[in-house]
Chain length 206, copies 4
């Protein structure tokens, strides 16, 4: 990858954003169905969930605004969309089935926003953007699955909206490692800082 | 890649969208600065521009709605954003420098929409979405650069907005082939059909 | 009002949009709490609900896409926003209380989209826009409450998004007649056609 | 109006937002064409421009982020939309004609954002929202024209986006006083604080 990085560096990509202003934590689609290799899971997703529990615990201790997302389609399928046309199995993620519930390790507490979505980005036609604005979030730490899917789409939107995204490298996972690594590379060069949780926390005041 | 495809197939991804309803053509950021390896170009971008000229010519012949995008920042830098914080060289793409102008081969004609943008997606805070709605576009053919950058971000948004994206495989390019191929794979599995121009045209009524 | 209309006419406002393309029906916030003068209701809202039942019945007969909206805030108040800061009583509209439920006369059927929202416009950070796009809606008939509030905000957005709004004059209501009439006037001049249901239906093919 | 206010008060509307966090100033569509009664002007618009010059001067002295909007359609009319279908004269507001230029009294300085728009709201498909987020604006003072048109649409969106709008009562104007007053009333009850400039400034630290 070193030759690749050199091309990006020469063209001016890959600067560091750093951490500034109020922080928030976004956890994308860590629901049972994405923890299960027989449904939408696999790869390093389970490991990423474990590390995200540490991120969530730290965010709670520091009273950061916290957001969880779930993919949820209507019971009668009336909100089926083009995403479902590419992946019809997504339509099975209805409100009350276990596969659409957030994994027990990351179960939301009162005061944490739970965003229901039907598109890759956590920002697309959801209340996330105005919620972060009202909480004055400027730097958004991002965990979740999949790295190359809903995490990446959410990170691109977070940046476009004016938030500074930090992808927690060990808190995001994908069903396969090749797209995971390719998206970490792209995000680190163009949209976000990509760093392990411990390193990010080390730089923060206690 | 075949093992990878198998995982996606088993989980329900990779269905075909097909071509239906009115078609439109979106050409993303084919400006001089992205055709020039000394600025933001390289890889297979110049070849993709050549093929896009064929796509554009066909779109004009068939009277499809046509959109071109350019990245343009204000002369005084007052609209600098987080994207520029990751890639400060982007700020140099101001309205009147040659690097921000659409390449001569694809020069827009009257009636074609030219979208100025400051974020990866052609849809982000631009007039593209309502413009396509008013023209009843349902299937959006996509050309442009870079595959892993502004093309991919635009394709994700096109799908989320309810348009059916078809990525013209030979009409999109990137500064390096690895991110180009990785994003083609992701898009074909989850967001769009990825097909060469000739194959798409062959299926259309004359 | 005739002198006023003359000013608008001279400046070029008030042209007719007409009805074209596929139609859809949007019913804004006709929930129990807005039918009840002791909560958010009053004025001509109950009469508008009665007429909207006729509109809904006709829409179902003609198989138009149908959307209902409800204002719903989270049980724990975690999505309180600036709208609630202006009107704190809105926060009481939680998912399961009767006041937030759609009135029995207009109860949604399977296949009709129910949009939960926390802002005036039915389009703001909701899935409505992409849903209408996918159903190819071009002309959007609008009923609901209040005329000067969520109806008007939704109509402005519908027009901006590229849909042609028709406000069904006898199917929208407000807690007071003065803001009702003022908003009908503004919408008819600048954003929508404002016409009674019967007149709109009369012009349609059977 | 006092009986009306009582209805709103009893239902819980009309609370004060106050001024908090960083301030910004938004000046909506104060261009020559809206200062001219022969085009889109009239009523109290010229008086509102005079007072807005005082607001702008104060905003510059205090180094607030400042935004101006203009309605601008493409020279070839390729971005004509439903707004133009209601008011075809708007299409004449092209980039280089004097009618679309900001009035000399309010001429933008470098560093102030100029938003081109083709819809009523300053937020609709423009870069305004992310720009305000990046500048940490929380309270948005609003001047401009027309009160019942683009000012009101922008205020509703500002509130929905999570900004606290303050409409500067003497810095907004409309071609007729009836819609001006009706929209001030609606905004004050539901979307914004409506206060004269002097009163707002008096409450701020020097």
């Amino acid at each position: 990858m070193s030759l690749d990085v050199e091309v990006y560096r020469r063209q001016g990509f890959g600067a560091r954003l750093g951490v500034s202003g109020a922080l928030g934590l976004l956890i994308v689609d860590f629901v049972n169905g994405f923890a299960d290799p027989a449904r939408f899971g696999g790869g390093n997703i389970v490991a990423a969930i474990e590390r995200s529990a540490a991120a969530l615990s730290e965010a709670r201790r520091r009273h950061w605004p916290i957001v969880h997302t779930r993919i949820v389609f209507a019971d009668d399928g009336c909100d089926a969309n083009v995403f479902c046309a590419k992946a019809p199995t997504l339509l099975g993620l209805t409100e009350s089935i276990p596969a659409s519930a957030i994994v027990p390790e990351l179960s939301p507490l009162p005061g944490e926003l739970v965003v229901r979505k039907t598109a890759p980005s956590a920002f697309f036609e959801t209340g996330l953007r105005s919620w972060l604005t009202q909480r004055k979030v400027q730097t958004l730490l991002v965990a979740g699955a999949t790295t190359s899917g809903c995490v990446r789409a959410s990170v691109v939107d977070a940046m476009s909206c004016g938030f500074r995204p930090v992808v927690l490298r060990d808190c995001v996972g994908d069903r396969l490692l090749a797209p995971h690594e390719a998206s970490l590379f792209d995000m680190d060069q163009k949209y976000a800082d990509v760093r392990p949780l411990d390193e990010v926390l080390k730089d923060l005041p206690g």
